[in-house]
Symmetry: C2
């Protein structure tokens, strides 16, 4: 994590422009995919706002370029000479789907750049240095924590150089995912199951092992009450066994393609493959063996645990062998959020709802593994 030793001093107009740029980046309804949320405001030398821009997703202009285009359209190119660009992320220096923003800013005659967060992407960093080398006045990182909060998962993934991994566990209070005979419908409540779809919709990849594929034949799509909606994560299966053609993951999904098959048992190799596919956030959806392999490899960044008020006594465990033999080796986590998921009134009505657990109060715990010093 990059933190400024002391926050650089900004002019009042720059401070206000940075708050606006952060708000632009946080615009609702934007799903920038593998890219970060970024906002940019261009200021005239007198502090007046010339234009704004934000990044709307892979293949579309970066926030700086969008702001430059807006300024040119509104006030003409000449007025940008000597202007200041206030942007939530260090301008990139690399050519991806779009050209480097540092060059675009220099070409436009921007004299000063204020950025909130240094670029944690090793492939994109160097923009500030490039701008300085070309004579621009560069200030940043000005408020890295606020900017990081816009893109916490993306930032962490960039720092790690691999997708951020969230492990979803749904279990009875005694840590089981099914009864002794393997039956499991339902342990968690209807609200918890809907929340799982929300969680899927917030990641870009859902991953299961071939064991779960064969046992459960999951669809791994995002559904709401009306069916399939919104952005769908990439569906991925990991393991050496073939995907039977009759399974739902072998059939075309919402993106028209079958699930990606990662033919490896090595979590690191699987993540490297997904990283190449520009995947930044992977949700481990099952089973216990897959998650345990990621855990043992130190590749779990977050755990989201749904706990149902159910006792089973026997049956498959939600958590596999983590290689822990004694209590000093226990996997300890920090609780970052506790949500009490109360049943919806609609869930209370159907016959058998209480008996099936659909209408129960469930808990959702969000946890991060402790890094022991």
């Amino acid at each position: 994590m990059t933190t400024a030793a002391a926050a650089p001093t900004l002019a009042p107009a720059e401070h206000a422009a940075m708050q606006r740029a952060l708000a632009l980046a946080a615009t609702e309804g934007i799903s920038p995919g593998p890219n970060p949320r970024v906002g940019c405001v261009l200021l005239a030398p007198d502090g007046a706002t010339l234009a704004e821009g934000l990044h709307r997703g892979a293949g579309t202009p970066h926030a700086e370029v969008a702001a430059l285009a807006a300024a040119r359209a509104a006030v003409g190119p000449g007025t940008l000479r000597g202007a200041t660009a206030v942007v939530t992320l260090e301008p990139c220096a690399h050519t991806g789907r779009t050209g480097p923003c540092a060059e675009a800013l220099l070409d436009a005659g921007i004299a000063r750049v204020v950025y909130a967060q240094a670029d944690p992407n090793p492939a994109a960093t160097g923009g500030a240095a490039r701008l300085r080398a070309a004579g621009a006045d560069v200030v940043g990182p000005a408020c890295p924590d606020e900017a990081r909060a816009l893109n916490p998962v993306w930032t962490r993934a960039m720092e790690l150089g691999r997708p951020y991994v969230t492990w979803k566990v749904a279990a009875s209070l005694d840590g089981r995912t099914a009864a002794a005979d393997g039956t499991s419908r339902w342990i968690t409540s209807a609200v918890a199951r809907r929340d799982t779809h929300r969680l899927r919709g917030a990641v870009d990849t859902v991953l299961v092992g071939t064991g779960t594929l064969l046992a459960d034949d999951p669809a791994l799509t995002v559904r709401d009450a009306d069916g399939a909606h919104g952005p769908q994560p990439l569906r991925a299966v990991m393991g050496r066994r073939d995907l039977p053609p009759s399974t739902r993951l072998a059939a075309p999904g919402p993106d028209g393609a079958p699930a990606v098959h990662l033919r490896t048992r090595d979590p690191r190799a699987a993540l490297a493959d997904l990283w190449e596919r520009e995947r930044r956030h992977v949700l481990l959806e099952g089973g216990a063996t897959l998650a345990a392999a990621f855990w043992r490899a130190g590749l779990v960044d977050e755990v989201v645990a749904y706990v149902a008020p159910v006792l089973l006594g026997t049956g498959p465990a939600a958590v596999g062998d983590l290689g822990i033999t004694t209590i000093t080796g226990a996997a300890r986590l920090d609780v970052t959020d506790v949500a009490v998921l109360e049943p919806d009134p609609d869930d209370l009505a159907p016959p058998g709802a209480a008996r099936s657990g659909a209408a129960a109060t469930n808990l959702r715990l969000t946890l991060t593994p402790r890094k022991e010093s």
Copy 2:
């Protein structure tokens, strides 16, 4: 549960007196032991308060008798003729350590009795009928829910004719009580462990199996930061094996006596024995086999689960075999309370506190088994 079909109409002075009687019964610092909390207010025919009384525990006067004595001391015996007794529990008709309150009220010349809750104790009921038969005007149950809330455990125990049973579970997020090698210090946090002492202090009996006795040699006393304090529950061990003289439960406890040994494996027989000892609230403290036996016998009324943000993967399960083979037989519970137990600042300081889990956020869930229709 006894519920009035419609709340009887009370005079304004009687309504106010009932609120006062409920408050008297709820007086802090009173531990009535095996008896319920009861309050009583005596009103003159004009509605003026003559005296108040409350029950302070086994062997001391019942609330009605305490109020009668206070009235006689304050205003003389004659003034009670034609008075009204407002009391939170139906006056008893039986002779226990004290005489029947119904007779005492009649002897004092009380003409009208308003009570909040019918007596759920089969041995004590009949007071209202006795009073009516003797010509008194009797109104009740006037507000059974408020009165029941004073003594929820006592009321339920009386209805059941056995002690109310709370099962305490403390486990990792994946439902384990120790690592693979049996080590378990510590899974739960310092705050959770202190909360366990609070829980012990709120029951009148703590019960373990001989297996837990032999494995853990528990003391089962109530301790706070300063050592042993406050009322101590009866310590009881259940099982056919002898208690080794070297164990802490075989040594005299805070009450000067060793733990009671219930030489049975039958939970119902154990509870009958404890009932004879006037025990009304039993806390199952371990282990999993003992609790499972109570669960299978339908003798668990409440579960208090401490959940620590720890994963173990392997190791002993917190919940034993409940006889559940398929998901339709799952033990479902209602969540009645969720408490997030944040670490105390003092727990954060000691070296190794984070590593040991002492300073972690734990959860406490209170649950009641669902009664399927």
